[in-house]
């Protein structure tokens, strides 16, 4: 299974059963479903997949950051050229 297929599965799974918020899902699926646009940045998609799998709304709290926040996901999406209106 490619990293793009894994990203699609993880996004839907973590949105339905985990904490990935609805508003970020279309942006993640934009990457997952258009692999041809991102093949030269697959390493960023690998990072994005990790962030989705280990997303935690409260990742920034506590002394040791072991999970990933929405800010982390924003950064990766930005590296893939995806900018969200509210983030401008």
């Amino acid at each position: 299974m490619s990293v793009f297929e894994r990203l699609a599965k993880a996004t839907l799974r973590e949105n339905q059963n985990g904490e990935i918020p609805d508003y970020i899902v279309p942006h993640l699926l934009e990457v997952a479903q258009h692999s041809e646009n991102y093949t030269d940045r697959e390493w960023v998609v690998e990072i994005l997949l990790m962030q989705v799998e280990d997303y935690d709304t409260y990742a920034e709290s506590g002394c040791c950051k072991t999970a990933f926040s929405i800010e982390d996901i924003y950064t990766s999406l930005a590296r893939l050229g995806i900018k969200m209106d509210f983030w401008a």
């Binding site: 390493w43 960023v44 690998e46 990072i47 990790m50 962030q51 040791c64 072991t66 990933f68 982390d72 950064t75 990766s76 930005a78 590296r79």
Partner: protein, 381 residues
């Protein structure tokens, strides 16, 4: 033309995918992972965390149980010397290791004697396998740590860690495994959760030199009580301060990911090479050191009766590149402490060579190799 490279236990070639990622994080993504306050640092940090997960996955550990170091030697030292304070404070000042450990274990253990630690060195049998019965006899309440390697670097013999774990089941001693040679090449044993500490090297699994890791598993929700050997910065949970070498760490992580992905294909390629080698050298009546049923498919240690190792090295240098033992001690003229522990004596010691290969190894002209060896013996081709 370069000779075929048969010294993969000294160091492996770097996988192209690994080199590409190392270059990316050396040149393009050069941010400091400890500065995640801007995009440069954030991406570097994320890449380091990805690498941590890739290393952890190979041994089924948790990502926060992985500490990046400069290699297995540093990891071994961090474990053995890092335990000293806990041992002295608790009165548990007994260490056990095997006679065939790498010098990166034997020398720190030796230095602990100067602090008042007692040391038991476990023997091995003629097949190069650590005697677990001796471990059962040696273990005692004040044993702080047992250190037994995963795969021997000279013989390729996989050690019986499953049996070691059973013996330690009812004992509180910490179990450390130097997995420099076996990480990514044998998966099951390192996944035994009773193994508390695992030393890993990047350049033995087609990654860069100068990077490795220490896996320190929690037991009963607590980490092994290690103290850092260096101070200043607090990186890697305070155990290994200093700016993280993100490019090398990414290289190690990529190498670990590929090791898992290509595990079966690599083993198959190594087995095919091994069978060709054994077929070719069989007619020379070589003496193999180490139980071939227990060795990794990429290593063989053997003596060619009538041909001293240094003569073989010199005469075959245009055909194959190999060594007469561990890379760390091959430049000395001392006989191998590993083979001596196995009971190898006399001329066989001087005639011992180590051949180690991988899935990237070129074809070898074995008939030509055998011809040179027969000439060395003074026989006809």
């Amino acid at each position: 033309m370069m000779p075929a490279y048969l010294d993969c236990n000294a160091t492996t070639p770097v996988e192209k995918e690994v080199a590409r990622e190392v270059h990316r994080f050396l040149v393009e993504e050069f941010g400091n992972p400890a500065s995640p306050v801007h995009m440069y640092g954030t991406i570097a940090r994320m890449a380091v965390e990805k690498a941590r997960r890739d290393v952890a996955a190979l041994v089924e550990a948790q990502p926060d149980e992985v500490i990046f170091t400069s290699g297995a030697t540093e990891s071994n030292n961090l474990v053995l010397l890092g335990f000293a304070e806990a041992g002295l404070n608790s009165g548990r000042t007994h260490i056990i290791c095997s006679a065939i450990e790498h010098k990166a274990v034997l020398e720190p253990v030796e230095s602990l004697k100067g602090l008042g630690f007692k040391v038991t060195i476990l023997p091995v049998d003629e097949n190069g396998v650590v005697c677990v019965e001796a471990l059962a006899e040696a273990i005692r309440p004040e044993t702080l740590c047992v250190s037994i390697m995963h795969v021997n670097n000279e013989t390729g013999v996989v050690q019986p860690l499953d049996e070691v774990v059973k013996i330690l089941d009812e004992h509180h001693a910490w179990l450390h495994v130097d997995a420099a040679q076996g990480f990514g090449k044998e998966l099951e044993l390192l996944r035994l959760s009773r193994i508390d500490l695992i030393s890993i090297s990047g350049h033995k699994i087609f990654g860069p030199k100068g990077v490795g890791a220490l896996v320190r598993r929690r037991r009963d929700d607590e980490y092994p009580p290690l103290k850092p050997l260096m101070l200043g910065g607090g990186q890697e949970q305070g155990l290994r301060p200093g700016t993280l070498a993100a490019h090398s760490i990414v290289g190690l992580g990529t190498a670990a990911r590929i090791a898992l992905r290509d595990y079966d294909a690599r083993r198959e390629a190594c087995l095919t090479f091994k069978n060709e080698l054994l077929d070719a050298l069989g007619s020379l009546e070589v003496v193999v050191h180490g139980d071939l049923q227990r060795t990794l498919p990429n290593t063989i240690n053997l003596s060619i009766p009538g041909v001293e190792a240094h003569s073989a090295l010199s005469s075959l240098k245009n055909l194959i590149a190999f060594s007469n033992g561990s890379a760390c001690t091959a430049h000395t003229q001392e006989p191998s402490h590993v083979l001596q522990a196995m009971g190898v004596k006399g001329r066989l010691l001087d005639e011992a060579i180590r051949l180690s290969w991988c899935h990237l190894t070129d074809k070898v002209d074995w008939p030509q190799v055998c011809s040179v060896i027969r000439k060395l013996r003074g026989g006809s081709e």
